[in-house]
Amino acid sequence: MKGRRLSRRDVLQGSVALAAGTVFASPARAQAPEPVAVTPALVEAAKKEGKLIYYSSMDLPVGEKLGKAFEAAFPGITIQIERSGSERLFQRIDQEFASNIRAADIVNSSDASHFISWKKNGWLMPLVPEDVAKHFPESYRDPDGMFATSRVWLSSIAYNTNLVKPEDAPKSFADLLDPKWAGKMVKGHPAYSGTIMTATFQMVRELGWEYMEKLARQRVMQVQSSTDPPKKLSLGERAVMADGNEYGIVLLKEAGQPVEPVYPTEGTPTISGPTGIFKTAPHPNAAKLFQAWLHTRETQQFFVDFTAQYSVHAQVQSKPGRRKISDIKLMKEDAEGVEKMAEEIKTRYARLFRV
C-alpha cells in the first residue's frame, strides 16, 4: 500500500478546487438518463406524496437545517431525517432490504463505497439533476446517473485552544504518536462512521497499519460517529482530535468554541458524500425533487455556507474568510479501494483498538 503513495494535488476550476482523481471508475458504456430540473409538475407530484424519508450521516443540526430549508422551499412536504453513522446505516439498509422493507427514499452516505454495493444490487434509481449534468465534474457523478456527490468534507486533526497552545499543537499525524498526547486524544470508529472508514482507508494507505498500531497504544478515547470528536473537543473532554469532521470544528470555531483545525502535513483525508435515490422509494417524486433541489447552485451554495463543507458544483463560491480546499493538501479518495478493504479495516481496527 505504501508504495502507491499518491499525494496528487490537482487544482480544479471554480471555487471548489478538488482532486480530480476519479472517485468512481467509469464503465465503458454510460447510459445516464435525461437530466431533470425542478419543474412545477415534479413539485406537484412530490407534494401529493407529502413526505420524504432521508437516510443520512450528516451531523444532526446540519442535516436538520438542510431538511428545514427543503420544507421551506416546498411547503407541504415534510422530511424525516434518519441520522446515524454511515456504516450503521449501511447495515440497516441491508437488513431492511433483506426483509423487504422499503422505508428509505433517498440516502446520503459518507462512505462512497456503499454506492458501489447498492448500485451492484440494483437498488438505485437513475436520476440526473440538471445542475449535475451541467456543472458537476464527471468524476463526481455516476455515469449511469445513479448518484452524485452532494458534498465533500475532510477528516482532520484539531485541538482545544484552552488546553493546547498553538505552538505545541500537533502538525502531522506523526506528531500524534508523541507520548505527550497519550490519553489526551479522541477519535471516531470506522465500524460506525463512514467518514472514519474512508479516512482510515486513506491513512492506512498513506501511513501503513504500523501508524494505526502506534496510535492505538496512545490510549485514545474512542467514540463512534465522526461528528462526536469535535464536540468532545469543544467540551474540553480531550485536548486533541485524531480524526473527525473538519466542518464540525470549523462551525464550532465560528460559534466561538475554543477549537482549531490542523491540516496534517501528510495530507488530510478527504471524503465525498454521494446522494442517490432508491428504486423502491415510497415517495419517489419527493425524492427526485429533493435530489434535483439539493444539487442546484443555490442549495449547494447555501449548504457550503452554513455547513462549512465543500461542493463540487462549478459555480459555487467558498464563503469569504474560510480556508479554501485548494489550499489544503489532500489525500486521494478511492471508493473502490474502500469497498475492497472495508472488512479488513473493521477487523484489524477492532483488534488494535480492542473495541
Partner: protein, 570 residues
C-alpha cells in the same frame, strides 16, 4: 321469601379451556420461536449445517474471552455493591425510626424510572475525566491535575450500573423486612437475645432470601445490560458481552456468533436460578401462621440523622446528581458548563421539539408501545399467573416456566431471536411496531408474571370458587372477582411494564426501523453523534411522560380509586 321456580342459569359452552390453550399457544410462539432460532443459529454455520465452530471461535479468540471476563467482573462486583448498599438502606427504611423514611423509599422506587442509558449519559456529563462537572469542581477546589473519577473506565461502568440496579435489591429487601412480623424479633428478644444477636440470628436470616434474590437480580441485570456499557465501554476501550454481541450485528452481520455468544449468558443464568433454589432449600422463610402486629421500629436516637444523611448521600448518585446534570445540560449552551441566568438558553429545547424530525415519531411510537405492551403484558401475565397459581390446566408448570424463561435471555439476544423469527413467513413483522411489541412483551413478561403471581397468592382460591358455584364462568369469575381484588397489583404491573418499555434499548436497537423508532433508540443515536444537550431534553421529556402516565393510570376510575381502604381488613 317464597320459592318459585329455580333459576337455572342458561346452558352455555365453557370457552375457558380453548381460551387458555390459545394463551398457552401464544406463549409458546412468543418465547419458544425466538429461542429456537437462536439455538439453531448458535449450532449451525451460514448454510445451516450443524457445527460447533461458533463456540470454538468464541472460546479461542481473546476478542470474545475478554468481554466474557469483563462481564463476569462487572456482574459480580455490581451485585456485591448493590447488596452492600441496598441492605442497610432497606433496613433503615423498613425497621427504624429514621426521619424521612417514606421520602427515601419513594425516591428510590422512582429511580426505577431512569433508563440506565440515560443515567450513563448523565454520568458522562458529571464525571467525564476532563469535562465532567464533578471533575471540574474537584480540580477547581484542589488544583489537582488528575480527575477525581473517570467514568470511562471499568470502575466507572460498574458504578453507573450499580446506581441503577441497587433500587431493585432495595425494594426486595425492604418489602421482605416490611412483611416480617415484629413478634419474631420480640420472640428472640424475650428469650434473651440482645439487639445484635436478634439481628444476626433472626432478622438477617429471614431477610436472606430477599437479599439472595436481590443479588441474583442485580447480577443478571448487570450481565445483560446494554445501555450503560454501550455508552461508557466504547470510550473506555473495552467490550462487554452485550456490546460485543451488538458489534457482531454490524455489517457484515455475524448472527451465528452472536447467537453462540448468548449461550454462556443463558447457561449462567439458568445455573444461578438453580443455585438460588439450592441455597434456600426447603427452609421456611415465608412467615407462617398466626396474626402478627406491625413491627416495632428500632429507635436509633441521635444516629437517625446520620442514617438519613447516609441515605441522602447514596441517593445523590442515582437521582439528584444525574437529574441536576441533565437539567443543566438542557438549558446550557455547553452541556458541561454550569448554566447561569445570563447563559440559559431554550435553544436545545427548540431544537429537539421543532427541528429534530424524529422526535415526534419517536415520542408517538414510544407511548403507543408503552401503553399497548403494558396492557397486553398485564393481561397475559394475569392469565399465566392465574393458571399457575390455580393449576387450571395440566401444563401449568410449563406455562410458568415459559413466562419466566425470558429472564435468562439478554434483551439484545432476544432482539436477534425475534429478528430471525419475524423476518420470514409466516410472521413477517419486522418494520412494524408489532415486532417491538413482541420484544417488549417478552422482556417484561417474567417480572410482570412474578408480580402478579405473588398478588394471586394472597387471594384465597375460594373467592373464585364462590363465584363459580353461583353461576359465573371461569372468565367471569376472573373478571368480576379476581381482577378487582388484584387491582393494586395489576396497576403496579401495568406501570412497571410501561416503565420497562421506556427503559428498553437492547432489543429495540436491533429491531427498529426508521418508521418504528423509539425514544431510547433516538437517544442512543444522539449519543453516537455526541448531541448531549438534545439527549438531556429528550430524557427529561421521557421522565415527564412516564410520571404523567403512571399518575394518570392510578386515577383511572375503572380501577375504582379508594377501594383500597375497603380491603384492609380482609
Amino acid at each position: 321469601m317464597t320459592i318459585t321456580t329455580t333459576d337455572t342459569p342458561k346452558r352455555r359452552i365453557d370457552v375457558t379451556r380453548p381460551v387458555l390453550w390459545l394463551f398457552a399457544a401464544f406463549m409458546i410462539v412468543l418465547i419458544v420461536l425466538p429461542l429456537s432460532w437462536l439455538v439453531v443459529f448458535a449450532f449451525t454455520d451460514k448454510a445451516r449445517r450443524p457445527t460447533l465452530q461458533n463456540f470454538v471461535t468464541l472460546f479461542t479468540d481473546p476478542a470474545f474471552l475478554d468481554p466474557l471476563l469483563t462481564t463476569a467482573i462487572i456482574a459480580t462486583t455490581s451485585a456485591v455493591i448493590c447488596c452492600l448498599v441496598a441492605a442497610p438502606i432497606g433496613w433503615l427504611v423498613s425497621r427504624t425510626d429514621m426521619p424521612g423514611r417514606q421520602t427515601i423509599r419513594a425516591l428510590l422506587t422512582a429511580s426505577f424510572v431512569t433508563p440506565p442509558f440515560l443515567g450513563a449519559v448523565a454520568w458522562e456529563l458529571l464525571a467525564a475525566p476532563n469535562s465532567g462537572m464533578l471533575n471540574q469542581l474537584y480540580r477547581y477546589l484542589t488544583g489537582a491535575e488528575d480527575p477525581l473519577f473517570d467514568i470511562y473506565s471499568l470502575t466507572g461502568l460498574i458504578f453507573v450500573i450499580s446506581c441503577y440496579t441497587f433500587p431493585f435489591v432495595f425494594v426486595l429487601v425492604a418489602n421482605a423486612l416490611d412483611n416480617m412480623p415484629g413478634e419474631l424479633e420480640d420472640a428472640s428478644a424475650i428469650l434473651g437475645g440482645k439487639a445484635w444477636t436478634t439481628a444476626r440470628r433472626v432478622t438477617i436470616p429471614l431477610a436472606l432470601p430477599a437479599l439472595v434474590a436481590g443479588a441474583l437480580i442485580a447480577f443478571l441485570q448487570a450481565m445483560t445490560l446494554f445501555g450503560s456499557p454501550a455508552i461508557l465501554a466504547l470510550p473506555a476501550g473495552f467490550h462487554t458481552m452485550t456490546t460485543k454481541i451488538w458489534s457482531l450485528f454490524q455489517y457484515p452481520p455475524k448472527l451465528e456468533l452472536a447467537a453462540a455468544a448468548a449461550v454462556p449468558l443463558l447457561l449462567l443464568t439458568m445455573l444461578l436460578l438453580q443455585g438460588q433454589k439450592f441455597l434456600l432449600g426447603r427452609r421456611g422463610f415465608s412467615v407462617v401462621g398466626g396474626k402478627y402486629g406491625a413491627p416495632r421500629p428500632i429507635e436509633m436516637g441521635g444516629w437517625r440523622w446520620a442514617a438519613l444523611a447516609f441515605c441522602l448521600l447514596v441517593l445523590l448518585n442515582p437521582v439528584f446528581l444525574p437529574y441536576f446534570a441533565l437539567l443543566n445540560a438542557a438549558f446550557s449552551p455547553n452541556a458541561t458548563t454550569l448554566v447561569t441566568p445570563s447563559t440559559a438558553t431554550l435553544h436545545n429545547i427548540v431544537f429537539v421539539f421543532t427541528e429534530l424530525s424524529s422526535t415526534q415519531l419517536a415520542l408517538k411510537n414510544t407511548v403507543i408501545l408503552g401503553a399497548s405492551t403494558a396492557t397486553v403484558g398485564t393481561i397475559l401475565a394475569l392469565v399465566v399467573a392465574y393458571v399457575t397459581t390455580r393449576r387450571v390446566i395440566a401444563s401449568h408448570r410449563l406455562l410458568g416456566f415459559l413466562a419466566t424463561a425470558p429472564v435468562a435471555v439478554p434483551g439484545i439476544v432476544l432482539g436477534v431471536g425475534l429478528f430471525l423469527s419475524y423476518t420470514r413467513p409466516p410472521f413477517v413483522l419486522y418494520g412494524t411496531l408489532w415486532i417491538l411489541l413482541l420484544a417488549f412483551l417478552t422482556i417484561n413478561l417474567p417480572s410482570a408474571y412474578q408480580q402478579l403471581q405473588a398478588a394471586f397468592a394472597t387471594i384465597h382460591p375460594e373467592l373464585e370458587d364462590a363465584s363459580r358455584i353461583l353461576g359465573a364462568t371461569r372468565l367471569q369469575a376472573l373478571r368480576q372477582i379476581t381482577a378487582p381484588l388484584l387491582r393494586t397489583g395489576v396497576i403496579a404491573t401495568w406501570c412497571f411494564i410501561f416503565i420497562g418499555v421506556m427503559r428498553e434499548l437492547s432489543a429495540a436497537i436491533v429491531l427498529f426501523t426508521s418508521q418504528t423508532k423509539v425514544l431510547s433508540v433516538l437517544i442512543y443515536d444522539l449519543n453516537e453523534s455526541g448531541d448531549l444537550a438534545a439527549i438531556s431534553v429528550l430524557g427529561i421529556a421521557m421522565l415527564v411522560i412516564t410520571f404523567a402516565v403512571v399518575l394518570a393510570v392510578n386515577r383511572i376510575p375503572m380501577f375504582g380509586g379508594g377501594a383500597g381502604a375497603r380491603l384492609r381488613n380482609s
